[in-house]
């Protein structure tokens, strides 16, 4: 499929060296996106975590061991594996900014997109969401609740983008040229170590424009060619190495 280039490219940059794995982003994400609490959170294969923090290590024995944390939202790939496979156009990459949409009322729940995504960024509503009594009063107005049986994923808190555009319109500004910091996903707002940066990487006035050019910036699985809109930064060689598969002879 033809890859569409947009004038705006909403880009997340995560500084892995600063992530302490505290989990605030994951909690905030659930609150913002109305993900019902899950009693058995330890079954990582059935829980819904649009934002998931992975634990990485350098594979060495004590005392050479080092570890790191890698928060994984949806990569909003430029060349997404999930979009072309959807049989019912429930997921697209067609909006200015390049956020990969996931439309719950359209989704039939075939899970082909989940099989296609190597980042495991897509989740399935295995059961109807149930909030403890009363907790539905703390639902966020920003994300619709989903019935069981549909696929869902991180969308960079997309309705915050819509809110920011509405605000720009109200102030007589161009809704497609938002100033840096007007549009912030919930995970960024919650991150106490400032590991997450966000903005339009095509806009030189946005911080991420330069951050993605940092010498330590990389993306996950670049060799497969999915062109993610999420970048990571780490000074540590071993972390950067784990961003992609390398043949033994290519490792240093």
């Amino acid at each position: 499929m033809q890859q569409i280039e947009f004038d705006t490219k909403w880009t997340m940059v995560v500084d892995i060296d600063k992530c302490s794995g505290c989990g605030s982003c994951m909690v905030s994400c659930q609150a913002e996106n109305n993900i019902a609490p899950m009693e058995d959170g330890s079954n990582k294969l059935k829980t819904l975590t649009w934002m998931l923090v992975y634990e990485l290590n350098n594979g060495k024995e004590f005392p050479e061991r080092e570890s790191a944390y890698l928060p994984r939202p949806c990569m909003q790939c430029g060349n997404p594996a999930c979009v072309p496979v959807c049989p019912v156009v429930a997921t697209t990459k067609d909006e200015e900014g390049g956020i990969v949409s996931q439309i719950y009322p359209r989704c039939i729940g075939c899970r082909y997109c989940m099989a296609a995504c190597p980042y495991h960024a897509r989740y399935f509503g295995w059961f109807d969401p149930i909030w403890p009594e009363g907790m539905e009063k703390a639902l966020s107005p920003n994300t619709s609740t989903r019935p069981r049986g549909v696929v869902e994923k991180c969308n960079f808190c997309h309705s915050r983008l819509m809110d920011a555009r509405a605000r720009a319109r109200a102030e007589g500004m161009d809704p497609n040229k938002l100033p840096d910091g007007w549009y912030k996903p919930a995970c960024l707002e919650a991150c106490p170590t400032g590991a997450i940066s966000f903005g339009d990487s095509k806009n030189p006035e946005h911080k991420v424009h330069d951050l993605i050019k940092d010498k330590n910036a990389f993306r996950l699985l670049e060799s497969i060619g999915m062109d993610p809109q999420v970048y990571y930064i780490s000074r540590r060689d071993w972390v950067r190495e784990q961003s992609d598969n390398h043949l033994p002879k290519d490792k240093h």
């Binding site: 061991r65 966020s140 106490p192």
Partner: protein, 690 residues
């Protein structure tokens, strides 16, 4: 012409064919699909004006200033409050779900009295207060009959409680254990006053000895913010962090260097560094410098230190050199899990700061002045902090001290969270009348005789002064974001009302008045405090400290070695000593810590071989006061002969999100007494493994 079968079939066929040309099938199909978007049993969203209010959350060990977003008056998401100096715009993993916690299934919905074991009956506030008053009037004026424990180290509410205790004639008003206790005792021994603070903001080299600054030490969220500011994404590192501790925790993971040091041996590590510094000519013009030098040079030589804590002399010398060459180095010591460290750990680390000339300096260790007390009869902060609740309970457990007639627990869950938990819980069980002021049905509430629920953080007035660890004196306050959802009542209001009934004049009518007076006395503007701006003051104490060499000499003992040491760690996402796993946090628990109901402890491959354990195998860990069952995760980020184990699991009360998950490591902590200071300590716990 009658209708035969054939005619009927043809009629039906006609009907079916005809229906294809009507909207019936197509519209029904479409509407059914639309129905599936809006199933009535899936809740709808609420719309309305979106507002933001500042508040303080006290779910974690350290207060966090938040901006809470509400839609049509209902809070739904919390973010950090960047205007507030106390937490600098950060938010911890519990507070991030603070809005959802309003509706936690664990909330106590109104005052209740115990009618039988595990059975409670709702009563009115009037009845509850009457019941409490009766019990209290019976013990008024008698020492040793009333004990109060508060889990809120920063709030003026604890001041009110201590003043009330004083009015009742009781000296037994305590804070739950925390690093500030060791710091207060240490400062007393070093001849200082006020509160030890660390100016992380202006330091360029931070050595954290044990202190897990990203999870449990000091003002965690603030530490994280300062760390982040010093290491801008894509920019140069402005401050080097080194972590010394037994476990590659997340502080170690994001530090520039991790120095593995055996658990509970922070003082030896610090004094080992002092050796190298003294060797390099460091000194300090302090009365007992000579004693200190003699002590260090004789007992903490590189080979002895290596034998005791497993750090090679080269590593120590290198680190000492790094510290001495940094322009604003800072050494911070604390327990690896935020409690149970001895005063000597802090004295030893302070000695390093003294040798580096960093006491009272920008980016160094500070002696912060206390804010004036709001309630005159209250104990000073230093005094309240230095009181030893663990020691008290241990004495009650062994009948060295008679159990009080009434015990009141405010924002505290001692039945679950005290070290050697089983022993301590047994001590609490001896109390005839236990009152819990908890917002939650925690372990303490669930055995209490009377529960008088305090409203949730977002529903009440509260304040927080100078959390332990920060570098300046400060004060924050908040007003309710939302009307109380249930029938809670601010504990301070309850105490004020009960006190006046008992003829104790605390000088105020309401919690709001107390907090406003506190702000006024501190010189802060109440309105701006409530809007979320912290009051900050530079005032410090100018005492000159001494090394307390005599205390060090008595209190530092070299470990025997050869045993399996326990390295507990606390992570905020699974809760704190006052909070069990919040509903939204279940998914944040690592699969290396909990799977289903099984708790995982971590050991490295070498230790595993020694213990004959393998990935996933079940072990029984026994300490002095109890046992825990856990499974093993092999993690090379743990020192040899050390078991790293997460605190915060094994709840027996609360709700389905935390109850029965894993085991409570606090049970196998062993409480000992620190020679020289006499305080209860439990950072060096050894376990036997079966």
């Amino acid at each position: 012409m009658g209708i035969d079968r054939r005619t009927f079939i043809q009629l039906v066929t006609g009907g079916v064919v005809g229906s294809l040309f009507t909207p019936v099938i197509w519209k029904s199909l479409d509407d059914a699909a639309i129905w599936s978007q809006n199933w009535s049993w899936i809740p709808r969203l609420k719309y309305g004006q979106i507002t933001e209010h500042a508040t303080i959350s006290k779910f974690g060990p350290s207060p966090c200033s938040l901006m809470v977003k509400s839609v049509a008056g209902s809070p739904y998401v919390a973010k950090g409050n960047a205007e507030n100096e106390m937490s600098k715009g950060g938010v911890d993993a519990i507070s991030a779900g603070g809005a959802q916690l309003l509706y936690s299934p664990s909330r106590v919905k109104g005052p209740m009295k115990k009618v039988a074991d595990g059975k409670y009956e709702s009563i009115s506030w009037d009845d509850a207060e009457k019941m409490l008053s009766e019990k209290l009037s019976a013990v008024k004026g008698q020492a040793g009959k009333l004990a109060i424990v508060s889990g809120d180290a920063t709030g003026t509410s604890s001041e009110v409680l201590s003043a009330f205790a004083a009015g009742m004639g009781s000296k037994d008003c305590y804070l739950m254990p925390g690093d500030e206790q060791a710091a207060a005792v240490a400062l007393e021994n070093m001849g200082g006053s006020g509160q030890i603070g660390y100016d992380l903001d202006n330091s360029d080299f931070v050595l954290l000895v044990g202190a897990d600054a990203m999870n449990s030490w000091g003002s965690v969220v603030r530490n994280q913010r300062v760390y982040a500011d010093k290491r801008p994404t894509g920019g140069d590192i402005e401050s080097v962090y080194v972590y010394a501790g037994p476990f590659l925790n997340s502080t170690a993971a994001i530090s520039d260097k991790w120095v593995p040091v055996a658990p509970g041996t922070g003082s030896i590590f610090s004094l080992g560094l002092a050796y190298h510094m003294l060797n390099a000519g460091a000194s300090a013009s302090v009365a007992d410098f000579a004693d200190f030098k003699t002590l260090v040079m004789s007992r903490f030589t590189p080979d002895k230190v290596e034998k005791a804590i497993g750090v090679a002399p080269g590593v120590m010398a290198g680190l000492a050199k790094q510290l001495m060459s940094a322009s604003a180095p800072l050494v911070i010591s604390g327990s690896e899990f935020g409690q149970g460290a001895g005063a000597v750990d802090i004295i030893a680390a302070s000695a390093l700061n003294m040798l580096l000339g960093r006491v009272g300096e920008q980016g160094g260790m500070k002696l912060l002045a206390d804010l004036p007390l709001a309630v005159d009869a209250a104990a000073s902060r230093a005094e309240l902090s230095s009181r030893d609740f663990a020691g008290y309970l241990a004495a009650v457990a062994t009948d060295k001290v008679k159990a009080p007639e009434v015990m009141m627990a405010y924002e505290a869950n001692p039945v679950y969270a005290m070290p050697q938990a089983t022993t301590m819980a047994a001590a609490i069980a001896k109390v005839p009348f236990l009152v819990s002021f908890s917002t939650w049905m925690d372990e303490t509430a669930s055995i209490a005789d009377l529960i008088m629920p305090n409203p949730h953080s977002f529903e009440r007035f509260d304040d927080a002064q100078t959390p332990y660890g920060v570098g300046t004196t400060m004060l924050s306050a908040c007003a309710p974001v939302i009307e109380p959802l249930y029938n809670g009542k601010s504990t301070v209001d309850v105490i004020l009302s009960v006190a006046s009934g008992l003829g104790i004049d605390l000088g105020y009518e309401s919690v709001e008045a107390v907090l406003q007076a506190k702000a006024e006395k501190a010189g802060a503007d109440w309105d701006s405090l409530v809007e979320g701006v912290a009051y900050v003051s530079d005032s410090t104490e100018s005492d000159s400290l001494k090394f307390a060499a005599s205390v060090l000499s008595k209190a530092v003992t070299m470990p025997k070695g050869g045993e399996i040491a326990l390295a507990p760690y606390a992570k905020l996402n699974v809760g704190s000593s006052t909070m069990a796993i919040p509903p939204l946090n279940c998914v944040t628990v690592s699969k290396f810590e909990l799977q289903g109901k099984d708790l995982f402890v971590q050991i490295n491959g070498k230790t595993a071989k020694k213990l004959n354990a393998s990935e996933g195998s079940t072990v029984k860990l026994s300490g002095a006061g109890g046992e825990c069952v856990a499974r093993v995760h092999i993690n090379e980020g743990v020192m040899n002969d050390v078991i790293a184990a997460p605190l915060g699991f094994g709840h027996t009360a609360w709700d389905e999100f935390s109850r029965g998950k894993g085991d409570n490591i606090a049970k196998i902590l062993t409480v000992g007494t620190e020679p020289g200071t006499g305080m209860a300590v439990w950072t060096s716990s050894f376990v036997s493994v079966a």
